[in-house]
């Protein structure tokens, strides 16, 4: 191994990159922009659902019932509508996602002991959100029902309202959310995005830059020089690993400062595991470039083999245990999930190497294995 040769190639690579606006954007602007765009856009919290109410009864009881929704933080009350026909176009435009229709004779039925009719219209275009909205409405409706019965009990038996309320809840259900007490998406999504972005951006960039040398013919300078294969791989990978490490820190800062995700664990562990992770993803890009000849092919293939896994097989959205066995196998073989676990461990759980060593070890093996694969497959004497 000759340090001067390695430095020469690294230096050239670096100079070319900083002079190429496209590479600069890809290397430094893209990760930053993606973090902000996806971080703000991708939230699973369902709040401020636009709501309208059609109150056909107009009684004290119906107003009382309506206020339970109007006052909720989950709903953004847009106003009363005269009848539900007016609701249809607004639902269609997405200006409303939920409409509650309180029937005539609401109060009269209630007082008469008959079930009072309430109709709910929901926009079913986003199934997950609809399920959550439905949950909110059911819960508010159940609370209203319970209070009504509690008031009735308290008046009938002469007991305090609070006691009557307790009587109606024989199973005291108490939930505590660990690690993310507020169940806030902002706490878990942006940190996971660090994994997501650093999965495909380094792979993408590396494959493009190496294939470009093939496409133009400059790769022949490498082939015909005394530079060894290991020297070439080290020199070629190092600049992109370095860029990815800069991004690792930038994205970490964004998660902590902009998205206010709490970081409780060891930064050293987060960074060291991150370094292994980006070596692995950079090597994936190098592997792609060994097999293809054109930049367009490199782009497509590295997108397919890194973007999709980063999205689907990395515990970004769902835990590996809820996948079928094939999915689980893919997830375990790829570096994404292992690093997501380090991220969750250092951001939210404050656990260290004593718990995360299997993930760290796996990342190290993957980085080493991928580099070795590059070594085996990259040749300075080619078939065509």
């Amino acid at each position: 191994m000759n340090a001067r040769r390695i430095l020469t190639v690294m230096h050239k690579e670096w100079r070319e990159m900083v002079r190429d606006p496209l590479s600069l954007v890809m290397g430094f602007v893209l990760p930053f922009a993606l973090m902000l765009l996806i971080g703000f856009g991708m939230t699973f919290d369902v709040e401020n659902i636009p709501l309208a109410i059609v109150d056909r009864d107009g009684s004290a009881a119906s107003r009382d019932y309506a206020y339970r929704f109007i006052g909720s933080r989950y709903f953004d009350f847009k106003g009363y509508l005269a009848d539900e026909r007016k609701a249809a176009p607004l639902l269609m435009d997405g200006k409303l996602r939920a409409v509650i229709v309180i029937a005539e004779r609401f109060e009269r039925d209630l007082l008469a002991g008959r079930p009072a009719a309430v109709q709910v219209l929901l926009d079913g275009a986003f199934p997950d959100r609809v399920r959550i909205t439905k949950g909110y409405i059911s819960a508010i409706n159940a609370a209203a029902t319970r209070e009504l019965i509690a008031g009735y009990l308290s008046r009938r038996d002469g007991i305090p309202a609070a006691q009557a309320n307790e009587l109606l809840q024989p199973f005291g259900l108490e939930m505590r959310y660990l690690y993310n007490q507020g169940v806030k998406s902002d706490w878990s999504i942006p940190p996971k995005l660090i994994m997501f972005i650093l999965f495909f951006v380094p792979a993408f960039m590396t494959s493009l830059r190496v294939v470009r040398e093939k496409e133009t013919g400059t790769i022949f300078n490498i082939y015909t020089s005394p530079l060894t294969r290991v020297e070439f791989l080290l020199a070629k990978l190092a600049p992109y690993v370095a860029i990815a490490l800069v991004n690792l820190v930038v994205l970490w800062l964004l998660a902590v400062l902009v998205f206010r995700a709490p970081f409780k664990g060891s930064f050293t562990l987060f960074f060291a595991a991150g370094a292994l992770y980006v070596i692995a993803t950079t090597c994936i890009g190098m592997l792609v470039s060994v097999f293809v000849r054109t930049q367009i092919a490199a782009m497509l293939i590295s997108l397919v083999i890194t973007f999709v896994p980063a999205l689907q097989y990395s515990e970004l959205e769902e835990p590996v245990t809820s996948m079928d066995p094939e999915g689980q196998l893919i997830t375990y073989l790829l570096p994404g999930m292992h690093y997501v676990r380090v991220i969750m461990g250092t951001f939210l759980k404050n656990v260290g190497l004593e718990v995360l060593w299997p993930e760290a070890l796996t990342l190290a093996v993957q980085a080493g294995g991928l580099f070795f694969a590059c070594y085996l497959l990259f040749h300075k004497r080619v078939k065509a």
Binding site: V9, E16, D20, T216, Y223, P226, L227, R381
Partner: protein, 674 residues
């Protein structure tokens, strides 16, 4: 360069540096035996033997697809092969590991203008990169860099990014980068393709000087037959096989015979007679050339006169064949070219004759502050082949685009096929045919589909389409290929198909933008045959742009463009006469020590003396005097075996002379070479 170092040397062949200890002096630097390479099962090179001696410039000459690049890459140790053996510096290249053993001792420059250089790095950074990659010590690097950049005249552009260099400068930089680690062997794959004639000459001169000085061995490929004279020894490659090898003179003698050039009052009839009798006949402007195999001067003259009995003949001259004639003859002998006679052409429509087909009047085009075309005026009569000659960027394509109505001129006007083009761009398009540099064909469509597509674009009816498709396949020799994808055809056929598509609507004016790059000599001759027939028999006016000087010889009339202006406008013969009147006639000096002969001649006041392989070319104002003066002059410098003979000027000589004169007068001209 160190002139003293040169003068010490004895001949043209000894190495300037002592050979490495393990190599015997007699051992060739490269020895290839039975070499074979296949791509996806299709053989590209088959059974090639090649030997390159220490210190020589060995040429690999052949058209595109002959297998030159495969062979060169294998010798450079970067391509695997299936058959035979390749030995470099005595090391058999049989595995990736053995290839590594020779890499510090060789330099390789792949094909393509500047494609092995880094576009975003400056000239100096490129050189530094190559040097450090090969661990050249910093002090040696500084010295060699200064010298190489000075020789290549790139030292003024040290800071300039490679992507902003002209084609010729890129190739010179590529050469400097390839030589910076002082390899013993360099392999240059088509270093002069796509480079204008002036830069090409400069490139060869620098290469010869550097190789000579360091005793470097070189393997250089080219697709230009006329560059063969640059090599000490050469191998002609065609379809993956060696056709002939040896010194250019020896190869030339492989096919004895003479070329007879003549003019005739009835060129069509003369052409037909000659074609019936001789295998190689071609039209070069008003001249018809026929190769008479196996004949001496008198025999050739007699044979041609006999063949042309009854046809008016003027100016009959007998010449030695050039390498291209030999190449074609060799191909015909072994029947490798598959030369079928072009089918008889469908009867030509009565063509209007004598009128002016194209007229450019003070055509001017500005792009921002840059004037691409500057008051260009010329006329092309119906039935004439007109060549627009110039380096890349001289404005040729812009002229064509204005004349075809693709872009509007900033000033001036032009009439094409009798139509004022400013007013009626659409009408013009129906009367002209246009074939672009890229052969605008659809590679995934078949031959017939391409023809039908163009027929459809020009609105031909079903019957006319069928008739024209038949005509095109017959004219282009495409029978049997109708169902083949256009992209899979060999270069020559693809080119003729593109020509056919441009002719499908029977235009009276044909524009060809750089039409014949990379086509083998036989294919190129067939192409010019077709143009000859079109212009002579159907009266079609043909405007060709080219930077290939050998193509210029085929034109009836030439206009030379430089920096957007037309700087000369005459027949090829007239242009040559004008240059001879200005610079004198050309003398070719053969000797046993050509490198020293150049220096001796320059010292004696022949400033323009230039090396062409083993010969030296000098311009002489007093030919008879110099013919007598030069031999004793060289003898007194200790150079043996001197012979001097006058030589016909080539179009390349004319071009280089004209452009060099303009450059010295106007070095900062836009569109010229920087």
């Amino acid at each position: 360069m160190g002139e003293a170092a040169l003068v010490e040397r004895v001949g043209g062949h000894g190495p300037g540096r002592p050979p490495p200890a393990e190599a015997e002096p007699a051992r060739p630097v490269v020895r290839v035996r039975g070499f074979g390479k296949r791509y996806r099962g299709v053989p590209a090179v088959d059974g090639v033997d090649l030997e390159i001696r220490r210190g020589e410039i060995h040429g690999l000459i052949g058209p595109d697809g002959a297998g030159k690049s495969s062979l060169m890459k294998a010798i450079a140790g970067v391509l695997t092969f299936e058959a035979g053996s390749v030995e470099v510096f005595g090391v058999a290249l049989d595995s990736e590991a053995t290839c590594e053993r020779v890499k510090s001792r060789l330099g390789f420059m792949p094909q393509g203008l500047g494609l092995n250089l880094y576009a975003d790095l400056s000239v100096e950074e490129n050189v530094d990169f190559f040097a450090r990659l090969h661990l050249v010590p910093e002090r040696a690097l500084a010295e060699r860099k200064a010298k190489l950049l000075a020789m290549t005249r790139l030292d003024r552009f040290r800071e300039r990014p490679m992507k902003h260099l002209s084609g010729g400068m890129k190739q010179k930089l590529g050469l400097a980068c390839t030589l910076i680690h002082e390899p013993e062997l360099i392999v240059l794959d088509e270093p002069t393709t796509g480079v204008d004639a002036v830069s090409r000459r400069e490139f060869w001169a620098i290469l010869a000087e550097l190789l000579q000085e360091k005793g470097i061995t070189a393997l250089v490929s080219t697709a230009y037959m006329d560059e063969a004279a640059r090599f000490e020894r050469a191998s002609l490659l065609y379809s993956g096989r060696i056709l002939a090898a040896g010194e250019p003179e020896t190869i030339r003698r492989l096919v004895p015979g003479r070329v007879v050039a003549l003019r005739s009052g009835d060129p069509v009839a003369a052409m037909a007679r000659l074609k019936a009798r001789f295998t190689q006949v071609e039209a070069r402007g008003p001249w018809l050339n026929a190769f008479v195999a196996g004949a001496d001067a008198a025999g050739a003259r007699a044979a041609v006169s006999d063949a042309l009995a009854g046809v008016p003949v003027e100016n009959l001259n007998v010449m030695d064949p050039d390498l291209e004639d030999v190449f074609v003859a060799l191909l015909q002998n072994r029947n490798a070219g598959g030369e079928e006679r072009p089918a008889a052409r469908a009867a030509a429509g009565g063509a209007p004759r004598g009128g002016i087909a194209i007229e450019a009047l003070e055509l001017t085009r500005d792009f921002g502050s840059f004037r691409a075309v500057d008051h260009a005026s010329f006329r092309v009569p119906q039935g004439e082949i007109f060549g627009l000659l110039g380096a890349n960027g001289a404005g040729k394509t812009t002229v064509i685009k204005m004349l075809t109505g693709i872009i509007r001129p900033s000033g001036g006007s032009g009439r094409v096929a009798g139509v004022e083009m400013r007013a009626a761009a659409r009408e013009i398009k129906e009367r002209i045919g246009y074939m672009s540099q890229a052969f605008s064909l659809y590679g995934d469509l078949t031959v017939l589909e391409n023809i039908h597509l163009y027929a459809g674009i020009y609105g031909l009816g079903a019957r006319a389409t069928r008739a024209r498709a038949e005509w095109v396949t017959g004219m282009a020799g495409l029978s049997g290929h109708e169902g083949d994808a256009a992209g899979s055809l060999p270069m020559g056929l693809r080119q003729r198909l593109a020509l056919g598509c441009a002719l499908v609507h029977r235009p009276q004016v044909l524009f060809l933008d750089e039409p014949t790059s990379g086509v083998d000599p036989i294919g190129r001759r067939r192409f010019w045959d077709i143009l000859f027939a079109l212009s002579r028999e159907e009266g079609v006016a043909v405007l060709v742009t080219t930077h290939y000087m050998s193509e210029a010889e085929h034109c009836d009339h030439l206009a030379l463009m430089y920096a957007g202006r037309i700087v000369a406008d005459a027949t090829p013969a007239r242009m040559k006469l004008e240059v001879e009147a200005e610079a004198g006639c050309l003398l070719e000096v053969a000797s046993g020590a050509p490198h020293r002969a150049v220096l001796a001649l320059r010292r004696a006041g022949y400033a323009g003396a230039a090396l062409f392989g083993t010969r030296v070319h000098v311009f002489s104002r007093d030919a008879d005097g110099d013919l007598a003066r030069i031999p004793p002059l060289l003898h007194s410098a200790g150079i043996e075996a001197v012979s001097v003979a006058p030589r016909r000027l080539s179009m390349e000589d004319v071009f280089v002379h004209r452009v060099s004169a303009l450059e010295t007068r106007d070095p900062a001209a836009p569109g010229g070479r920087p």
